[in-house]
């Protein structure tokens, strides 16, 4: 893949290598949460394995622009070690800053935040369910 000045190096690396893409396998203690953007078809599924109250493995599936895919990849790393509360409180601005995502794409990042909140809601023992 050739360099493209429209995207930062980290966005390009993640888009090219897709670290964290796929599904966490197994049924025990695996949370699956999905969020869909209302307007442009972007969608993400997070799958998280938890042990002792924290995320030990996170993977993603995503359909969307390169920034969205790279941000989903980044989020899987960010959520490792996170408690339910930290997953629920995760804010999309963190990835916007980390990957230098332009403001025109912020709307899609909120979809990632929705997925994280849905995952927290589906946490084993939580009262709400995933969206």
């Amino acid at each position: 893949m050739h360099a493209d000045p429209r995207y930062g190096a980290e966005v390009l690396r993640r888009f090219r290598q897709l670290p964290g893409a796929g599904d966490v396998t197994g049924d025990e203690a695996v949370i699956r949460a999905r969020a869909d953007a209302a307007d442009d078809g972007a969608r993400v599924v997070l799958s998280l394995r938890t042990e002792h109250g924290v995320v030990v493995e996170a993977r993603f599936r995503a359909y969307g622009c390169p920034y969205f895919i790279a941000a989903a990849s980044w989020l899987t790393e960010r959520l490792r070690g996170a408690s339910r509360h930290e997953v629920a409180e995760w804010d999309w601005r963190e990835v916007a800053e980390a990957l230098e995502i332009p403001p025109s794409r912020f709307g899609r990042l909120i979809t990632l935040q929705d997925a994280a909140r849905a995952a927290a809601a589906a946490w084993p023992g939580a009262t709400a369910t995933a969206v």
């Binding site: 893949m1 493209d4 897709l18 699956r32 999905r34 599936r61 622009c65 895919i69 369910t129 995933a130």
Partner: protein
């Protein structure tokens, strides 16, 4: 890896034979003079080059040399045709007919004319991209003064039956303007046979230089136009400004080459395009946009479900291809042309325009098809299914 260039509908490389012709008009020892300065030898030599190019452009369009008015490209030619004809002929009426899939250099002038009090009918093509002559005929009114229809669509490559539309328009006394930017040098043109009153051309789509084009204007009977530019009165007062001798000479050379090689080249490029489609068509969820049979030789436009357009373009950054037209891509919106053909927003957004040209090889076509298939499969593998449901 070298980039495979499959964006010849956006622009083409200048043929080295054309470059040679242009260089002969640029250096101090070359024919660089102002073609209007016919009082001296260098000016007369430049003028002779301009007139030789005029004959070559006219021959490609089936026109007489005196019909050719030089412009800066097809955008200016389309603007001159539409504004010029509408404003000159306004006493006869203020209704214009065009289609929704025209190039922005036609649609934007039409929208501007609406603000000047003109009424414009924007016809919707069928799902195959074709605007039927019967649709044009049905849209004509007593106050219709102009029909504007492109010969070959710049996104889909679909060919319109401008000959039949010309017959319809001439019978009703309505002017016909045809944007032939994508067809010149690839398909036969004949403004007299097809009763085309105004024909827009550009050099850079047929391996000529950027920055030069032409408008062929009907001479018999003479067609009135209001100019866009005033100044030196060049081009019979229709387009003032010093003529760019090297650009025009290059355009002329490009037309001569295209005319001489058109039949063979069209067959070669059509064969390559069919191979490309054949290699891609087995990909699940791929759709051909526009008529399969009525399309210009090197043009293919496909929509691919389950992949997002921007991501696909980035993944294919070793291919120079476009998603929708280059002009539309700048706006970052799904192609209005594909939307007019009934494609969903996502399919329009997930479209690829692959356009082959004079320097495209069979090996490039094979490699491009393999790359597209591989990246589509890679992106689909990480995409969640369409239906929104709890995971």
């Amino acid at each position: 890896m070298e980039t495979i260039y499959l964006d010849n509908a956006a622009t083409t490389p200048v043929d080295p034979r054309v470059v040679e012709e242009m260089l002969a008009c640029m250096g101090p020892a070359a024919d660089f003079a102002n073609a209007s300065s016919v009082s001296h030898g260098p000016g007369r030599r430049a003028s002779a080059r301009i007139e030789a190019a005029r004959s070559a452009v006219a021959a490609l369009a089936g026109a007489a040399p005196e019909q050719v008015v030089w412009t800066s490209g097809a955008t200016e030619a389309n603007n001159l045709a539409i504004f010029g004809a509408a404003r000159f002929h306004r006493p006869k009426g203020a209704h214009i007919v065009t289609s929704r899939t025209e190039h922005p250099s036609v649609l934007d002038p039409c929208r501007r004319l609406e603000r000047e009090g003109f009424e414009v009918s924007y016809l919707r093509p069928g799902p195959d991209g074709i605007v039927e002559p019967s649709q044009i005929e049905a849209a004509l009114r007593a106050d219709t003064i102009l029909v504007s229809l492109m010969h070959v669509n710049n996104e889909t490559g679909v060919i319109q039956d401008v000959g039949e539309v010309g017959r319809v328009c001439r019978a009703r006394g309505v002017l016909l303007h045809v944007d032939a930017a994508q067809s010149a040098g690839k398909l036969g043109l004949d403004v007299i046979r097809d009763r085309i009153d105004l024909l827009a051309l550009t050099a850079h789509k047929l391996n000529g230089p950027k920055g030069v084009g032409a408008l062929c204007v009907r001479r018999e009977p003479r067609l009135g136009l209001v100019p866009l530019l005033y100044g030196g009165g060049q081009e019979r007062g229709l387009r003032s400004g010093t003529l760019p001798t090297h650009q025009i000479a290059g355009f002329g050379a490009a037309c001569r080459i295209a005319a001489a090689e058109m039949t063979e080249e069209a067959a070669r490029v059509t064969h390559l395009r069919n191979r490309l489609w054949s290699a891609l068509s087995t990909l699940p969820g791929i759709l051909l946009n526009g008529s399969e049979h009525r399309r210009a030789p090197g043009m293919l436009n496909v929509s691919i479900s389950g992949v997002e357009g921007e991501s696909l373009l980035l993944a294919l950054s070793d291919l120079a291809v476009s998603s929708g037209s280059a002009c539309a891509t700048l706006r970052g919106e799904p192609s209005y042309v594909l939307r007019a053909l009934g494609r969903s927003e996502q399919l329009a957004q997930g479209s690829l325009r692959l356009t082959l040209g004079r320097y495209t090889t069979a090996d490039e076509v094979e490699r491009a098809a393999m790359r597209i298939r591989a990246e589509v499969e890679r992106l689909r593998a990480i995409a969640p299914p369409m239906a929104a449901a709890a995971g």
